[in-house]
């Protein structure tokens, strides 16, 4: 949760949510492991090489992909490059401010990036134009437009959708435009700990109430590809194992629902 958003949850709301959770209920009627309904609109920005507007409940993010030719990194001369960036637009929340990336947006971008990179969703070896000299650089830029919790999962969903709709503008390099080669579908599942409960896909109020946050990104084989703990609270090892299990189960459901 962005530090800016702290402290606006009233005591009355706090105790209401906590009391409801004890009965296994959430404010909007979801079960503890349920995600909010997501709507994904791909090719939202046709000017981009790929794009997706994602609404996850009342959280709204827009991911756009641009693919340009450039130099590879010296230590990986035969691989294309993936870079992920997140911008917390001031329109999304009263205390978000315009300016360079802050620790919140950097953390989100890096967790999303790790999930995509480590799942081998994109075969970067196929993004080589001229070995050691010229490769395709895939820029994923994600704009946060409306903030009601769980930006990491909304951003992963948007980035993955945008990449799946993306094409490589190879005609600029004398080839033929082609779809970006994608394979695995990483799904991130974020939970916050409220009392002793793990609550999936937290909305803003639940994030504010949570003592600690954990994100687990998995692929179809159920393997863990990325993990990140956040906030100042702690988890027991049993809770972490539970979080991994929930993530791979929920991930399978979401993958089927939105990507098949």
């Amino acid at each position: 949760m962005p530090r800016d958003a702290l402290g606006v949850l009233s005591e009355i709301k706090r105790s209401f949510i906590t009391k409801q959770l004890k009965e296994g209920k959430r404010g909007d009627g979801r079960g503890l492991q349920d995600f909010r309904e997501a709507t994904i609109t791909t090719n939202y920005v046709p000017r981009a090489a790929g794009s997706a507007m994602v609404k996850l409940g009342r959280t709204r993010v827009l991911a756009g992909v641009k693919i340009e030719s450039g130099e590879p990194f010296p230590d990986t001369p035969n691989s294309g490059v993936l870079t992920t960036n997140v911008e917390l637009l001031p329109m999304a929340f009263p205390t978000f401010e315009a300016g360079p990336p802050n620790e919140t947006s950097i953390e989100i971008a890096r967790v999303v990036d790790r999930g995509i990179r480590e799942s081998k969703m994109i075969d970067t070896q196929k993004l080589v134009i001229e070995p050691g000299k010229k490769v395709w650089i895939v820029f994923v830029d994600i704009n946060i437009m409306d903030f009601d919790g769980n930006l990491i999962d909304a951003c992963t969903l948007a980035a993955v959708s945008a990449l799946r709709s993306a094409f490589i503008p190879a005609s600029r390099e004398g080839g033929k435009d082609m779809p970006l080669p994608v394979d695995q579908i990483p799904i991130s599942v974020t939970m916050v700990k409220i009392g002793d409960d793990l609550v999936c896909d937290p909305d803003l109020e639940e994030e504010q109430l949570g003592s600690a946050r954990i994100t687990v990104t998995t692929t179809e084989d159920g393997h863990i590809r990325a993990m990140q703990k956040g906030d100042t609270g702690s988890f027991t090892f049993d809770e972490i194992k539970k979080a991994i299990k929930i993530s791979s189960d929920t991930g399978a459901t979401l993958r089927k629902k939105y990507f098949s």
């Binding site: 950097i106 953390e107 027991t236």
Partner: protein, 246 residues
């Protein structure tokens, strides 16, 4: 993770490049209060890592809007020296160090009794002078000692270790080669008595079974590392060493 290489990271007996067994730690050494000006400090050598940590505070949080009326804010700054890695690193914060600073701050916050110091900040400066894989965990482990040496009340110490996967095998405390060419990297830090996890990150590819194996290895190792932390503090602050004119 997963850069291609032809280096063989495990030999036919399952021994590692530097001669360690899969569950063996690199040598670790911690010293406290080497810095004169800081309120507390610690120095750690962990394999080839050389890291200095300084603590200032609790002091009034500045700028004012960062103050928390209920508790102190822990501001860790993880910084790598330009010469700490093979290729010169451009000085100053990059995206990686911003993220590491954030997760380290959060981990220390769970151990420090921040509620005793409303509106204050506790600065923790972590300077990586030489990097050799596992710097965030080595830095955090030393930072916990530095905070304690500054006399700041804590509920528990923070202690961590990494594990990972090389050539399909789970191993403890990744070396630089294993970090660069391995298949997974899992840094974990816990509160040393309660074993509650205050930092966990992962990238790579681990099955649930591999995760369990790795986390058990880490948990076992943290007991040994916590002992080194305790010795560093007690040898500096035990009765015999007080009033020796230092």
């Amino acid at each position: 993770m997963g850069s291609e290489s032809n280096i063989k990271l495990l030999d036919e007996n399952g021994m590692r490049l530097d001669g360690r067994t899969p569950e063996q730690l690199r040598p670790i050494k911690i010293e406290t209060n080497l810095l004169e000006r800081a309120d507390g400090s610690a120095y750690i050598e962990w394999g080839g890592n050389k890291i200095m940590v300084a603590v200032y505070g609790p002091r009034e949080a500045y700028p004012k809007h960062t103050q928390d009326i209920e508790k102190a804010v822990v501001k860790a700054r993880y910084n790598m020296a330009a010469f700490s890695v093979d290729e010169r690193k451009r000085p100053g914060p990059d995206r990686r160090s911003v993220e590491i600073s954030k997760v380290i701050s959060e981990a220390l916050s769970s151990a420090i009794m921040v509620e005793q110091f409303p509106r204050a900040q506790i600065d923790v400066f972590i300077e990586v002078m030489q990097a050799d894989a596992g710097t965030r965990i080595a830095g955090l482990t030393a930072a916990s000692v530095a905070v304690a040496s500054a006399g700041i009340p804590m509920r528990d110490m923070v202690v961590g270790c990494t594990a990972g996967k090389v050539e399909g095998k789970v191993v403890l405390d990744l070396s630089k080669e294993e970090d660069n060419f391995g298949q997974a990297d899992l840094p974990i830090a816990v509160l040393s008595k309660s074993k509650k996890v205050v930092l966990i990150q992962m990238d790579g590819d681990l099955s649930m079974e591999e995760f369990e194996q790795a986390s058990e290895m880490i948990l076992k190792a943290t007991d040994n590392i916590a002992e080194i932390q305790r010795n560093a503090l007690t040898s500096r602050y035990s009765v015999e060493n007080i009033g020796d004119g230092e």
